[in-house]
Symmetry: C2
Subunit: 478 residues, 2 copies
């Protein structure tokens, strides 16, 4: 057990703060291949809870889990042109087995559209077989140039849903349904508020007809794309020949969607909720929800006894850990805080003289002295309060740091303040490229959930000079 190190205050250097809390929170180690990560129990546990809860939601929506291969033959990948062009520079390529060169190269999947296309091609006969609603939990590899724990690593974990429909309207509806599902999930489980919207043509997924996104705001004001849902139309079903017999007994290409969230979500929750004491894990996805901290346990039989009793009582319903080490009380508290455990219960000889223990909230640091027989009754309420408080703080920040502008001058000023900036915008590719070059901001989405003025305005892009009723959110982003 190493000593705790100092955390750089987030106001001083947010990037350094992030690296510090990730390291101190015992979340990761760096893998031996550059840009790869080891997910230690404290972060993999979050991912397991995300999986478990999303699986339950998926099941209600009729999603079936499957698992497809890791490797994609070069010839298969190359059929959809935008797709291969978008991914090619990041593809890890298998050329040899042992010392032998292979006849055909294989790419490690950066996403699985073409693998699902190959599966669907051979699975569908008529409209009776549709819709097909599949999902897989898998690792994917994208050889990014710069990496950052959870946010951008060369290998990450995710779920990717892939569906086929006989009807384009049904497919579009599912695309939107999944993005709302993600927004709700982020709110209800990760306590992260988001803005839901459609990506501009420039920012949409390589191969998609349209891309929806949930965008979250980190504590430094930068945006993080937390989940996406794509309407693929027939963009894959045509080159990959995925057809079905329709009700008129004619062959038709299916309509497809795909959607996913990844281990980025762990980065998102750290940068949404963490503070200068370390990370704060929202209770519903916390691998440890309650730390039972024995104070001077070695010297007090009663401390041991109450700790054991509470452990047995609480573990039936919550995820509980006991710290019975002989470290100093201050160290134990700091260690629990730095690992983001939502509640800790300090069990010490002095409080126990009156049968009391102290419950400490990780978010507010508020302490409650309570009879140890009453602990069980108030735990769930405390955990729910923490969730609600984390969500409210994040939502207040998102709202107060989202500003509307009418001109490029205002736009540049507000982007420099690390705000989300909503502006009338023409959505031309060249406009996006120039704005990115000049300000560092990218378009995040055309928001669905914000009220907008009902008259047309001039696009902020200075050379555009067209009127538009389309408002786009821009921000610097991860």
């Amino acid at each position: 057990m190493k000593e705790l190190e100092k955390i750089t205050p987030l106001e001083t250097d947010f990037a350094k703060w992030y690296t510090d809390v990730v390291k101190q929170g015992n979340l990761i180690a760096y893998g031996p291949a550059k840009g790869t990560l080891v997910f230690k129990p404290n972060s993999y546990g979050i991912w397991e809870l995300i999986q478990q809860n999303l699986n339950e939601i998926f099941k209600e929506r009729g999603v079936n889990n499957v698992y497809l291969p890791l490797l994609i033959p070069e010839s298969l990948f190359s059929l959809e042109k935008d797709h291969i062009e978008g991914f090619n520079p990041e593809l890890a390529t298998v050329t040899h087995v042992g010392n032998k060169e292979l006849q055909e190269k294989y790419y490690i999947r950066p996403t699985s559209e073409v693998l699902f296309a190959d599966l669907f091609k051979n699975s569908i006969d008529s409209y009776n077989d549709l819709p097909l609603v599949y999902n897989q939990w898998a690792n994917v590899v994208r050889w990014e140039k710069t990496t950052n724990p959870f946010l951008r690593s060369r290998e990450f974990l995710w779920q990717e849903g892939h569906t086929c429909h006989a009807d384009p309207i049904e497919a579009r509806k599912l695309t939107r349904c999944m993005i709302s599902t993600y927004a709700k999930f982020l709110k209800n489980f990760l306590a992260i508020p988001t803005i839901v919207g459609k990506k501009t043509p420039y920012e949409k997924f390589a191969g998609a007809c349209s891309t929806y996104t949930v965008e979250a705001m980190m504590k430094d004001g930068r945006a993080l794309q937390a989940g996406t849902s794509h309407y693929l139309a027939q963009n894959f079903s045509k080159p990959y020949s995925i057809v079905f017999k329709n009700k008129n007994n004619e062959l038709e290409n299916v309509y497809q969607t795909s959607w996913g969230v990844s281990t980025r979500l762990i980065g998102a929750l750290i940068m949404t909720h963490g503070d200068n004491r370390g990370i704060i894990i929202p209770p519903r996805v916390a691998p440890i929800q309650i730390d039972l901290i024995e104070l001077f346990g070695a010297k007090s039989a009663k401390v041991k006894e109450v700790s054991q009793k509470l452990y047995e009582l609480l573990r039936r319903k919550w995820r509980v850990r006991v710290d019975a080490s002989d470290k100093q009380p201050g160290f134990k508290a700091a260690n629990s805080e730095i690992q983001g455990v939502p509640l800790r219960i300090e069990i010490g000889p002095r409080d126990l003289e009156n049968d009391m223990v102290t419950i400490v909230r990780r978010d507010t640091l508020e302490k409650t002295l309570v009879n140890y027989n009453d602990v069980k009754k108030i735990i769930q309420k405390k955990l729910d309060d923490i969730h609600d408080n984390l969500y409210k703080s994040a939502k207040d920040r998102l709202e107060s740091k989202t500003v509307w502008v009418d001109t490029y001058e205002e736009f540049k000023k507000e982007i420099q303040k690390n705000n989300f900036v909503v502006a009338p915008f023409c959505c031309l590719d060249e406009a996006e490229i120039k704005i990115k070059e000049e300000t560092g901001a990218t378009s995040r989405c055309i928001p669905k959930t914000l009220d907008k003025p009902n008259k047309n305005k001039l696009c902020i892009f200075d050379t555009c000079k067209t009127e538009t009723n389309r408002y786009v959110i821009f921000a610097k982003a991860y």
Copy 2:
């Protein structure tokens, strides 16, 4: 929905039977890269239930789940000589990203000993940090020459446990504990009896000090290695410099274990329980435990009503599916059987005149006519009976087809009958190689769980001529 095809009887051609039932059971599709598999919902669902149940057992044993990277730099892999030599011919090798050649090659993990070694090296300070008991669920790639669904494919899914200990006795104990855990799991969840034992030096894991195995017998009498647990001693901790400060404050190399089971288990349960009507999935890992089959549902409001009522009632406790299609009753029954669903409930207008439905067991095909209000009461008992019956049949077969021999002549005769053959054996590598060449059989293990004669006998290997008290099980194996 395609029509059902004929299944080759297992007595006629077991290999063909296996391919037929795997295909008809809607378990897999072939991946686009040769030798890879798609796990469809009916097989991935089994794997999810194996995961879920093993995770619960692991948690009780203090196992922490983690996730390590997919790619291993060549330089890291090469440090343990036996290990790299054993795996080298099967290693899929990444040499390029996009069109650029990498400075160092990466191997796709065939197993993760060296990745865990690299993690452990940087995680341990003193004996206070030990034991470390980690597990990961992951995909691995081994470029096998010949492949067979579930049993041997170029990519498969598994769990791999990796532990570090301050004490070799504790490490050896854990190695044995995990192999018993697997044996119990196979018995209690997959209804598969096994023989537990130690591998001979020739058959042990590349890099291990000793390997324990659980060996199951398939319906054709061939053996299938269903799980292994390795005591690695300091074989990895020395070349990879994994050290800890011991109680004397001296640096010492840790003692390690690793253990795993894979998606092979799905192949094992098919070849242990399947029959000429298709696969039979043991109830505790069946993605669908009960098929509710509506007979003439379109014509009878009562059929629909009772089906809906039973569905709502049963789904709270079991995994239930409704077949409300307009196919013929015979087709629906055959379809449920071919997919291995343990119980089906036929709801038809004639039985319903007396408020009755028919419950059919997949294993015995026994039918029970029962008032539909009483269904819920008897389901669990039926499922448990199926499990017990499947286990008993498999155990009877294993016992009746395990024979003891004293001479090589007897040995060859019994191996030809596809029996498990127990023989006194010297365990020399050259003896194993010659026996394999001459009979096709390999040593499966030195069994721990069989009573053996307490006097020494001559080794069956004809040129050996030494006496031994070591008995080894041989069989043809998958």
